[in-house]
């Protein structure tokens, strides 16, 4: 059985106090508690501070382009569905540069867990507004304030994601639980993680989040399978911010509908050129 020590990675280059540490620790804890070994996992990340996470733990790693981690994750998952595929992005990576992939990956319901480190800012490029920056957020590139944000949770619910959750990097215990739930889920799961960036987001700080977040599982009568309720929760942002599983639905995954995969992972299938002979006869 792998331990937390088995999940140690290369030296970390994040700022001290960054919310990403809480996410990294939660990821390791979730993987250990799920009894997973590093070689069973594929971590596919984009570019940004968040995208570095795979190097700071252990697993198979494909650190891809800015905005694109979902696409290689999809290709790898279809090639070898035996891999547990976890994609990792920042808010800019996921909802800005990668917005189109985000929508369509949810619609097709690929069996991938998507962890989005949502610090509401472009951190690696030093503090520009992101798609989730609060309206009016002033940066060097948005001197008159950012336009209203996208709502990733609402987008996910209406676009067909089968598990939609929000976590908070300041609550490792709770976050690790959400990561476990997401990884165990069959189908596409979005876990948007509120992540304080101590260097570039002086608005949405640890204190700011701590005063607002609450856990849906403590809310009597909340039913994440009720889409209308979920959408109402998705709209909640301000005085109170819900965390936990917001929405869940059952739906066939994309892989389950690929007949070729019924014979086992594509990567294990033999190549036999001779089989193509019959196709030539069709053209005579």
């Amino acid at each position: 059985m792998a331990t937390i020590a088995d999940y140690a990675g290369i030296p970390i280059a994040w700022c001290p106090g960054c919310g990403n540490f809480g996410i990294l620790n939660s990821v390791k804890r979730a993987l250990v508690e799920l009894g997973m070994e590093p070689h069973q996992i594929l971590l596919v990340s984009g570019i940004g501070q968040a995208g570095k996470l795979p190097h700071y733990t252990k697993g198979n790693v494909f650190n891809s382009l800015h905005g694109r981690p979902l696409s290689p994750a999809i290709g790898a998952k279809i090639a070898n569905p035996e891999l547990k595929v976890i994609a990792i992005s920042g808010d800019g990576d996921a909802y800005g540069e990668g917005g189109n992939h985000f929508l369509h990956t949810m619609r097709r319901n690929h069996d991938i867990t998507y962890l989005v480190h949502d610090n509401q800012v472009y951190a690696l490029t030093k503090g520009q507004a992101s798609p989730t920056s609060d309206a009016g957020f002033v940066t060097k590139t948005t001197p008159y304030g950012a336009a209203p944000p996208v709502n990733p949770i609402a987008l996910a619910i209406v676009s067909g994601a089968t598990l939609v959750s929000r976590g908070y990097a300041g609550d490792i215990e709770h976050l690790a639980g959400l990561i476990k739930t997401s990884i165990s889920h069959k189908g596409f799961s979005l876990l948007d993680i509120l992540q304080p960036c101590v260097s570039f987001n002086h608005k949405n700080t640890y204190n700011w989040y701590r005063e607002r977040v609450y856990k849906l599982e403590n809310e009597a009568g909340y039913d994440p399978t009720n889409k209308a309720l979920a959408l109402a929760k998705a709209e909640e942002w301000g005085e109170r911010i819900p965390t936990g599983v917001i929405y869940r639905q059952d739906r066939l995954t994309y892989d389950e509908q690929i007949p070729a995969l019924k014979m086992g992972p594509l990567v294990k299938q033999k190549i036999d050129p001779g089989l193509a002979a019959k196709l030539l006869d069709e053209l005579l």
């Binding site: 090639a79 594509l266 001779g274 193509a276």
Partner: protein, 570 residues
């Protein structure tokens, strides 16, 4: 070579031009003839003007011809646009009850196409099939052969039966009523069975034979039919075809599948390839095998969507951020489409890099007859893969620096070894780095792969003698037209040879420089406005060539090349 017959079918989109053209081609192919057929259509689903040309010969042909023996005109516009192309004893078949003002065109022969379709087959939708029958009647072709093709094309049942009736009615009408001096009669010459396919079919077959297990693409003319073919065969051949949300995703999905260990590809055209260029670099730095089919059409931007050009050469060769090795193959025959696709998959895995297969609309969508590929000759070379035992080595490094530049490749999940790679510059273990020394060593390692790769590139193919007055140089789909032009010029007494490049990068400079020195003059014949191959040759060999360029979106005919060379004098 004896060109027996050249048929053109023209009409609006939606009138069934394509089915008539294809069925004629297939019927003649079944009679042992060699076929070359091309399509000219507009980017619309109804209306406009479309035509399909079928050239029939008793030996191999690979280009279109100009003089039309039978023009099947499904509308008046076809007559107006193409009557000048009709040969001396040629015939225009048209519906004389629908088009009444064609007096004065001696070659026009009227057949009540629509009326016969309604009377004999019960529906005017079969007007085109009556016209098909009329063409068969004119050339006195064995109806039984065509009947069998119609049955297969319409997949049996009432639809087949009615179309056969319609064709028979057209055929009979011509036999009873035509008394002109048309004399291009054909009857089946042999039982030899050849495949009738287009360039995209051949590429798809090559991919399947090579063991491609994953295709992701986004529809774009002229490569959409590759997606469609692969999707149709996916279940039977154990492969997955994903219609991606855009080309960015398509190439990145294919790269993900390649990283995970299956042979993967994507297909697109120029605009889509623009969106893929960042992914191309990703394949370069992560050393992931991927095959990209780039079917050219005239640009810039959307250009002429349904027409042909070779204007992406320089772009495909140089599309990148930074430096990384790639291979570029450009088939010019249906055979090459198959074999170079197989080679592309082998090179991609042996050298762990992106390989581009360039075609164009003309090659992708033209049909021809060829002998069956000898599948037993398809060799699968997967390169340096680690064994399942080695894949448990915890010290495994995906980007191990080696003399050849090639690192042993393990797949994620193959064993306990972790397969780590990064779009950032990385160390041998695949983790991101910033230091100057590692960066330099990794760049050198990747570029060293070019040494081995260069040796895999076949030299260009010389047709004729190296001691020649005039050397015609071509690449890709112009091969057939250039060869035929070479033959014509030689028959007329000129000293002409031709040189054909199909494996473009790494560039086979050595072979070309010598030939350019020997020839008294040389011309690159290419379908683009700036002579991109001519420039490439100059860059790589220092030698200057003349150019004969065409960029109107239409393919070269052999005669055009002959005339252009004659204009150059001597």
């Amino acid at each position: 070579m004896n060109s027996h017959l050249n048929v053109m079918v023209g009409g609006e989109a939606g009138q069934g031009v394509q089915s008539v053209g294809f069925i004629l081609a297939k019927a003649f192919a079944r009679g042992g003839y060699h076929i070359f057929a091309d399509q000219d259509y507009e980017s619309r689903i109804r209306g406009g003007h479309n035509f399909y040309r079928v050239r029939v010969a008793d030996s191999k042909i690979a280009a279109i011809a100009e003089a039309v023996d039978v023009l099947v005109a499904l509308n008046k516009e076809t007559i107006e646009l193409h009557q000048k192309e009709v040969a001396a004893k040629g015939v225009i078949v048209f519906d004389n009850e629908k088009i009444t003002d064609v007096a004065g065109i001696p070659s026009a022969f009227g057949v009540p196409l629509e009326r016969l379709a309604v009377e004999q087959a019960g529906d005017k939708v079969m007007t085109n099939t009556v016209a098909l029958g009329a063409a068969l009647g004119l050339v006195r072709y064995d109806f039984a052969v065509s009947e069998q093709v119609l049955r297969e094309y319409f997949k049996g049942g009432d639809i087949s039966a009615n179309n056969i009736k319609a064709a028979r009615a057209g055929c009979k009408y011509v036999q009873e009523n035509y008394h002109g001096d048309f004399d291009r009669f054909l009857s089946p010459i042999s039982q030899v069975k050849r495949m009738l396919l287009n360039g995209n079919d051949a590429i798809s077959l090559g991919a399947i034979a090579a063991g491609c297990k994953f295709v992701a693409a986004y529809p774009m003319t002229p490569t959409t039919s590759i997606m469609e073919y692969m999707a149709a065969k996916a279940d039977e051949f154990g492969l997955a075809m994903v219609q991606a949300e855009d080309e960015i995703s398509a190439i990145n999905m294919a790269i993900g599948a390649g990283y995970a260990g299956v042979r993967a590809m994507t297909a697109t055209s120029g605009s889509g390839f623009c969106l893929m260029t960042e992914g191309l670099g990703l394949a370069g730095i992560t050393e992931t095998p991927v095959v990209i089919v780039e079917g050219q059409r005239p640009g810039p931007a959307v250009g002429l969507p349904t027409r042909t050009e070779q204007g992406d050469l320089q772009f495909v060769l140089y599309a990148h951020q930074g430096d990384f090795p790639r291979a570029v193959l450009a088939p010019g025959t249906f055979e090459d489409c198959f074999w170079l696709t197989v080679k592309a998959f082998n090179l991609a895995e042996k050298y762990q890099l992106p390989v581009l297969v360039m075609t164009d609309h003309h090659l992708a969508s033209s049909y021809g007859t060829i002998e069956k590929f000898d599948i037993s000759k398809v060799a699968i070379e997967r390169g340096l893969l680690v064994s399942d035992k080695e894949a448990n080595d915890s010290a495994y490094k995906r980007h191990l620096i080696t003399e050849s530049g090639i690192s042993p490749r393990a797949f994620p999940g193959q064993g306990k070894a972790l397969v780590v790679t990064d779009a950032d510059e990385h160390d041998e273990a695949g983790h991101l780095i910033e230091d100057a020394d590692t960066r330099t060593r990794m760049m050198d390692k990747r570029l060293r792969k070019l040494t081995g790769l260069s040796k895999e590139i076949s030299p260009p193919e010389l047709y004729g003698s190296a001691e020649t007055d005039t050397l015609l140089i071509g690449w890709g789909s112009t091969r057939g037209a250039i060869r035929e032009a070479t033959d014509i010029l030689c028959q007329e007494g000129s000293s002409v040879s031709s040189l054909y490049l199909s494996e473009l990068w790494p560039f086979p400079s050595g072979n070309i420089a010598g030939l350019l020195d020997k020839a008294k003059r040389s011309f690159v014949i290419e379908s683009n406005a700036t002579g991109q191959m001519s420039r490439l040759i100059r860059t790589e060999t220092g030698k200057k060539t003349g150019t004969i360029l065409k960029y109107d979106g239409r393919p070269f005919t052999p005669n055009e090349i002959v005339q252009a060379i004659k204009k150059e004098g001597r």
